[in-house]
Subunit: 129 residues, 4 copies
Amino acid sequence: MIQIATGDPRSITQQIVDAVRRQIAAGELAVGDQLPSVRGLAQQLMVNPNTVAKAYGELSSEGWLDARPGLGLYVATPRQRLSDSERERRLDDAVQRFVSDVIGLAFPAETLVARVSEELDALRPKKRA
Amino acid sequence: MIQIATGDPRSITQQIVDAVRRQIAAGELAVGDQLPSVRGLAQQLMVNPNTVAKAYGELSSEGWLDARPGLGLYVATPRQRLSDSERERRLDDAVQRFVSDVIGLAFPAETLVARVSEELDALRPKKRA
Amino acid sequence: MIQIATGDPRSITQQIVDAVRRQIAAGELAVGDQLPSVRGLAQQLMVNPNTVAKAYGELSSEGWLDARPGLGLYVATPRQRLSDSERERRLDDAVQRFVSDVIGLAFPAETLVARVSEELDALRPKKRA
Amino acid sequence: MIQIATGDPRSITQQIVDAVRRQIAAGELAVGDQLPSVRGLAQQLMVNPNTVAKAYGELSSEGWLDARPGLGLYVATPRQRLSDSERERRLDDAVQRFVSDVIGLAFPAETLVARVSEELDALRPKKRA
DNA sequence: GTGGTCTAGACCACG
DNA sequence: GTGGTCTAGACCACT
């Protein structure tokens, strides 16, 4: 289930992309599972179908989803699409951004590291019953 | 010294804001230090003075800088402006965003945590020579 | 309806910010209500769209509004953003400023207090018909 | 004794004007008292003499001070310089501004009124020993 | 259509 | 010289 938050600074497209990525990473969506149709999800989230289509397109080009024309979208087999240097660059960007975001909040470094660690643990793939 | 990267996804304004915040947090700029003038920094970075002014304005409203018309901008005395609940909310947002950013990069959680930790250590205030 | 007064010592931006804050505080704008578009309000007030955008940006960063790119601006859910010490500091500043402003007008203290009290009552949230 | 605060959003000129007005209103400076010389006060406050001269000029034109050429500046006999309508207008502006300043702080109206009342009482003219 | 960003250039008050 | 404000017009991403 995806929730769109009105106060969220991210665009609606980005919220959908993030939510699906998390569901796949956490194992809530397994390889081969089918995703809701563009029209169905758009109706459920009360957003423009173009917005959902764009999010799905982004996820496909990132290698999370495979489109089977006429059948729908399915969770793809994990593969490493990015070069090592590109992965390194993105990690660095994300770390820099995180630090910039929390730099003014006056939390001790230990607290920050602990929170990141907890959140990553929570996302570790879980088997479904 | 501030550097503007053209390939950076952040806006120029945001790059300036981030750079100044980091310099203050790292102790490279001490309380009471004067910042480069709007026009001077704009010329040095080859950007429009309005862009620098916007960045400085944002830093002032966030409490990092004090503007003294006719004199210049100075590093402000730190104070806790935000409520605990707001700080908690922002930390949570930052953690969520970081996780979303790195979720597809297939790095082990330990690596991610270590990188965040290193980066935070690097920002711990240092005395200047 | 917002009115811009040319003789007002406040900047146009500030007049817009104040007007919107008051409308929200008085309940004329409810949580979730959409605001006039940047371009629309600019045309109505006969000011530059950038000026309206600056006012809206300030209101957003203060937590009064949520901007949803492509959709518009909406009244945000209220929350306590500032720490108690910061609220106290700002109240003190406002009181000091008020006293400085009226100190030379030779009104009896009772009159001044009564006027402030009336004005605050007038702002108490009202149901709309 | 006048104090110039670096973090104060008011201009230095305005800080001096406000401080002198308060001292006169509170009776710390009595009618006929001499003020510090422009040069002397400028040196003490570490500001430009032009700034002090400008503040004194403003106070003189508002009727708080009388300049006795060659002798210095003295606290003037109170008189009502402004028309009733002008006084009313200024009071209204000050009230509006105060309300705008505190509208987002979420203090109960009673607290706000009480604080204004206290501050006005503290300024009631006192005899000096 | 929406808001967001950047550039360019003008004018003001302050020190 | 300083920062602050406003105007004008362009370009971008999002819906």
